[in-house]
């Protein structure tokens, strides 16, 4: 069995991935940063840092702090803006034989539409991922993602402006993750990815100040994996569009928790910092697991979770 090559390809709605391991937005830059360590084209997909219409400087430092089995970040969605992305980053990405997803966001619904329009018809971009975890300026800074209606309206706006498959990335900071999931499905999203970061805070007891200049930040890393797996489980039970699992994936075994639960692909985030080759290792772990278990198509593993006693 050890010599056969299991088929790891999966499709996420209209997207065909050579394998289910993608690099999560904001943790893999524009891919090239990792290019001297391994070939990013070996991954199932690359999701670039969240992009807005205009360049954004982001929050003042400190922007990150380690927490138990995780980290908080308050980058403030710093990014180079659509124009520079298209000029400086996309050409290299376009050369890669893998799926390229552009993560976009705005501070009002209009802005989401504008970014989508600016990327309309651009070759080399296989899909858009909407980060709806960022503050909704129109509605008092509460994140779009915490309001199912706002989530749906953002999705509709982007679908209307774009010619690309749209993945909506859900915020875990909600009472019932199924509500925004169902709302964006109804609005026409091609897939959902979850989870984005949990909001957290760390206090420096010496200075009696929050460690992050932004006071609060987003919690990521293995610490949040049980919450992510639970939410993916809740969402796959009610949704018919595909789900991409994200949150604390450090190893192939962790990725399998999401795939078995029903995610059709996974995103690796914080692990890229712990080991810049983590996503590649996770891919290799999956291949090995399929071989050991005699699984010819990883597809057959997806959603095989048994919950009956």
């Amino acid at each position: 069995m050890n010599d056969v090559h299991p088929d790891l390809s999966v499709n996420v709605g209209p997207l065909e991935l050579k394998n289910p391991v993608m690099a999560a937005s904001g943790t893999f830059g524009y891919g090239r940063e990792f290019g001297s360590l391994f070939d990013p084209a070996l991954l199932g997909g690359i999701i670039v840092k969240g992009l807005s219409l205009e360049p954004r400087a982001g929050n003042p430092p400190p922007r990150i702090v380690e927490t138990p089995c995780g980290m908080l970040n308050a980058i403030g969605l710093a990014n180079i803006g659509v124009d520079r992305f298209l000029e400086e980053k996309l050409p290299w990405l376009e050369g890669l034989d893998t799926v390229v997803v552009v993560n976009i966001y705005g501070h009002c619904i209009e802005e989401y539409g504008e970014v989508a329009r600016a990327l309309r018809g651009v070759d080399g971009i296989d899909a858009l991922e909407l980060n709806i975890s960022c503050p909704n300026v129109e509605q008092g800074g509460m994140a779009f993602g915490t309001d199912p209606d706002a989530s749906a309206r953002v999705t509709e706006k982007v679908l209307a402006a774009s010619d690309k498959p749209v993945i909506v990335k859900l915020s875990p900071n909600v009472t019932d993750i199924r509500k925004p999931a169902l709302a964006v499905e109804k609005a026409g999203a091609h897939a959902v990815s979850l989870i984005n970061t949990l909001t957290g805070m760390v206090v420096d007891v010496e200075t009696r100040r929050p460690v992050l200049a932004n006071v609060k930040g987003g919690l990521s890393g293995p610490a949040i994996r049980p919450v992510a797996v639970r939410m993916v489980h809740e969402v796959v039970e009610v949704l018919s569009i595909p789900v991409i699992g994200v949150g604390g994936i450090m190893s192939g075994k962790d990725a399998l928790e999401f795939l078995i639960t029903g995610a059709r692909a996974v995103q690796v985030g914080t692990a890229n910092f712990v080991d810049p080759r983590a996503s590649l290792t996770i891919f290799h772990d999956l291949v090995q697991f399929c071989r050991d278990k005699g699984i010819a198509r990883l597809e057959d593993l997806i959603g095989t979770l048994v919950t009956a006693p």
Binding site: P60, P61, M71
Partner: protein, 270 residues
């Protein structure tokens, strides 16, 4: 820049709480420049989770790099427990490093506390160039904390030492020594530039002194880091108002910056 599992070929406590670790990493040692750093994964498990950044303090034997570190928290505490023969994952060399500047004039190296680490490597490299002259000023809290270039580099570099408590060398901040050197040389025709690393307050003072003296100055900065590769945008420092950008990433645009490129008013405690 590469990622590898390096064997610890030596590890000793040079002064209480501060350790010198040798890591066998020929491909990193082969391309490392003074001022560059490595990201070390201190633990094997999930605690600590992220890698920790450390300057390369010198090259040793064939293919080993030195890391001089102080135990300040969990990551460095775990590192301090490692023994020769153990292996740790490292990523590097990272960052830009110091540029040697005008080769005809002597460089002034100013290091405070652990900030001496990258300057020791620079001193080692300058000695290697032979013809290149330089002066090394180092500052510490007291005699017990003094890190000696000759002890750590096995080079006879006579550092001019300052201690806050006056237990060794000049009594006062290391910047006094720099100030004296600059004043002794009006118009500072004899200074090919200053390279400094240490606490932010010290660096700010160095920036002021060099600006006043019209001497070019490079400072090596610190920031909390996650990736070390320019990808996470977590390690930024405020750029001076004149700069075209608001922030610099310490891991890639730095850690070495022209002193005037930094917004010292918002440089923060560390």
């Amino acid at each position: 820049m590469i990622e590898c599992e390096a064997e610890i070929s030596g590890h000793r406590e040079v002064v209480p709480g501060t350790f010198l670790m040798f890591l066998d990493a020929p491909s990193i040692a082969g391309s490392a420049r003074p001022g560059q750093f490595v990201m070390i994964r201190a633990g094997s498990g999930l605690d600590p989770l992220l890698r920790r950044p450390f300057s390369i303090c010198g090259l040793y034997g064939d293919g080993a790099i030195g890391v001089l570190y102080k135990v300040v928290g969990r990551g460095t505490a775990v590192l301090a427990e490692k023994r020769s023969g153990d292996r740790v994952h490292i990523l590097g060399p990272l960052g830009n490093g110091f540029s040697a500047g005008d080769a005809s004039l002597p460089l002034l190296l100013v290091g405070g506390g652990m900030g001496v680490a990258p300057l020791f490597f620079l001193a080692q490299a300058l000695c290697g160039l032979g013809d290149r002259t330089f002066r090394l000023f180092t500052g510490f809290n007291g005699k017990a904390q003094v890190l000696s270039a000759s002890d750590i580099l096995h080079l006879d570099v006579a550092a001019e030492v300052a201690t806050d408590d006056g237990t060794m060398g000049h009594a006062g901040p290391v910047t006094d020594l720099l100030q004296a050197a600059l004043e002794a040389d009006p118009g500072s025709k004899a200074a090919g530039g200053v390279c400094a690393c240490g606490p932010t307050a010290m660096l700010e003072r160095v920036a002021v002194l060099t600006a006043a003296a019209g001497v070019s100055c490079q400072v090596s900065l610190e920031a909390s880091m996650a990736c070390g590769l320019g990808a996470c945008l977590g390690c930024v420092v405020h750029a001076a108002p004149e700069e075209s950008v608001s922030f610099f990433r310490v891991c890639t645009e730095g850690p070495v910056f022209p002193a005037q490129a930094v917004d010292w008013t918002r440089a923060g405690p560390h």
